[in-house]
Symmetry: C2
Subunit: 419 residues, 2 copies
């Protein structure tokens, strides 16, 4: 089965407005076992739109066309669809009625322009749009079924989800050689993409019915597994086998799957144990606390945090002895450890994390250049610290420092040892 | 002049990998006065690639083709380009030499596969790639000049910037009816998109040679002005006129232009006056501090910050009197004011900012529902506070709270009064 995509709209060709619609449709379709064969974007130009429709009608079984369904003069899609079919535009009274009702409900003035949106090619089927005024239109051209939907993302996604995909699902179901797919995203932290790749490369060879894909969301790296089979059960089985092997190879580097976020994982882990947390942050300047507090319910876990750029605040808020600050650089293992232990006592928490480093772009020493970060974790029993050298710009160093501090804590709580 | 785009690669049709290359090229081209006329993506399928190349060669003056230039069997672009031209693939010895040198420099094993990347259609021109092994290839098909580049974003962007755009610039320069463009981005804060639109709508009617575009990066809203003219001087003049009027209409809502970021603007403003800052954050949980400290050199301005979820930490770190906390809700104007004044004294800074509110999804009271945030700003002279009700989810409320707190400070320092 051959499915194509056509987007219309000058604004999509300037690089200023991105097309978020097509990836949405492609991913949904892919999960259903089909891949878009060809995707095109043309401007609001009659000749180009008609040419694209004609070419698609000659080679595809189904096509999703979006944009150009609005009420203004540069909305040309219905006009072009009628021209290619060699039919007139006719007014659909059901659509007209629904647009009038929509305007009345919103106290908007209905103008002649708005009636244009009720014009559909003769012989085509109109489907009412619950979240906008332009309808979805279904038209047969040659052997291809065209689905026309508005380009407004909210309307597009709603109609694709509710009206287009179920109809395509029915068409796909009748295919003789249908492919079934199942997918899983494994999210890792603490592992560069090349190491992740190297760890699972042998498994990719073993699991030949599973596609291994990688996405970097630094500091996280995600492994996407897509299994194919002749039945859903077969695809599910292949996926489960590959997932089991990948989880075994990756161990505690995997913190979650699709839908999980890293700070949320750590917050829920601590909350389930009724444990609490505080940070003393220097180079991350509040970023680690902000990450944790982005999670709903974080206030059950994070009691407080201190951003301490000065010696005086390190002493007053994080109980770092003044003597220690005279003897050691502010960026050093002893200071990180004192910050972790001090903030833990000061805030009265189960765990205390201390972060100090050179985020750049200036600063650093010969021994500890920009990118050097000392992370320390304090518990009732002990304080441990580790030195890291992160590469990249200021924001990247700060991101890696905050993530890695949380990951030290996660590994300690899970009892799996450092990364 | 008609310029088209063709991307090849199965991975771009699954919705899993996004195409960031084409928007990059489109935007650069648009700034040069031309718009891409048609953009297509096809899979790694010989028949489809050849068909697309043939159609483009019949209607375009120039085309940028990306992807399928690697060393593996599913890299088909050069083979298809040769087939459509009706020529053989020939080995380019200069390219082969450069690939060998590249591998030697990296201590990589050169395999027969890698030599494939030195094969180009007979009669085409190869341009060496400074950041990868696949060359850029220039080929004339019909009246169209094709530029073939690798799809790897780093290589694509490098070659487009250095090799493709300068050549297109030369072609564009010979056009009889060339359009010249000039653009400016004005960044605003404190103004919903609909208000921004309403404020500049009358100006859009006056400046008919200028396109007014809007982009939302909540809490910021950006106004993009693109002026067109028959000469660069004319476009520049139209832009300058429109920018002047927009800046006048928007006043202090404009915090900067392209290249400026909001926290950086505030940090530089304070640094230029040798003034310092501290935060006492409750619902933002470190986010306001993290925003400020993302700016290089922020440590000259931000002395320290306290994230205080508990009463005890509010008293100890932000000097909020215990009596006050017994008399008022933690989310209230008096507590926000006490946090601002207290943190200012505690950290010894020019300015103190206090933030307390209900970020959600749970919490809040009947009078102060989720989304309510009290912001207070303390100076040596006074403490002022304001109540806000932000809509949206937890992260949106936190973002708006942090931005708005910084904006209170910016407006006070600039002496322009509250938004």
């Amino acid at each position: 089965m051959r499915i194509e995509v056509l987007c219309t709209g000058d604004e999509l060709l300037t690089g200023i407005t991105g097309d978020t619609n097509s990836p949405f449709f492609m991913e949904r379709l892919f999960r259903m076992g089909e891949k878009v064969a060809w995707s095109q974007t043309v401007g609001d130009v009659r000749e180009d739109i008609q040419r694209a429709l004609r070419e698609i009608s000659g080679r595809a079984d189904a096509a999703l066309v979006s944009g150009g369904m609005g009420p203004t003069a540069d909305d040309l899609t219905m006009e072009c669809a009628a021209a290619v079919a060699g039919v007139r535009l006719v007014e659909d009274s059901r659509v007209l009625e629904s647009i009038r009702a929509r305007f009345a409900a919103r106290n908007l003035v209905f103008s002649a322009n708005n009636a244009r949106q009720a014009q559909v090619p003769d012989g085509a089927e109109a489907v009412l749009n619950p979240v906008g005024s332009a309808p979805m239109v279904i038209q047969r051209l040659g052997r291809c079924t065209f689905f026309y939907v508005p380009g407004v993302p909210r309307e597009y996604k709603n109609l694709v989800e509710r009206e287009v995909l179920p109809r395509l699902e029915q068409l796909i179901r009748t295919q003789p050689a249908r492919v079934f797919r199942a997918s899983r995203m494994l999210k890792t932290v603490g592992l560069p993409e090349s190491h992740l790749d190297a760890k699972v490369a042998p498994l990719a060879r073993v699991h030949s019915r599973v596609i291994f894909g990688f996405r970097t969301h630094a500091p996280e790296n995600h492994l996407k597994l897509v299994a194919e089979g002749e039945s859903q059960a077969e695809a599910d089985r292949s996926l489960a086998d590959a997932e089991r092997d990948c989880r075994e190879a990756l161990g505690a580097f995997v913190f979650g799957a699709e839908g999980d976020d890293f700070p949320g994982t750590v917050v829920r882990l601590l909350a389930s144990r009724h444990e609490t947390l505080s940070f003393a942050e220097s180079c991350t300047g509040g970023l680690a606390s902000a990450m944790v507090t982005s999670v709903p319910g974080a206030s059950d876990v994070l009691v407080g945090s201190a951003v301490t750029y000065t010696q005086s605040l390190k002493s007053r808020w994080a109980q770092v002895p003044e003597q220690l600050l005279r003897e050691h650089d502010a960026v050093s293992a002893p200071v990180a450890e004192a910050m972790a232990a001090g903030i833990r006592r000061e805030a009265g928490t189960t765990w205390g994390l201390g972060i100090t480093g050179y985020a750049g772009p200036t600063g650093g020493t010969e021994q500890d250049p920009v990118g050097t970060v000392y992370l320390a974790l304090a518990s009732e029993k002990d304080v441990v610290s580790q030195r890291f050298l992160f590469s990249g710009d200021r924001e990247r160093v700060r991101q890696f420092a905050a993530y890695t501090a949380l990951d030290m804590l996660r590994r300690r709580v899970l009892g799996v040892g450092p990364a």
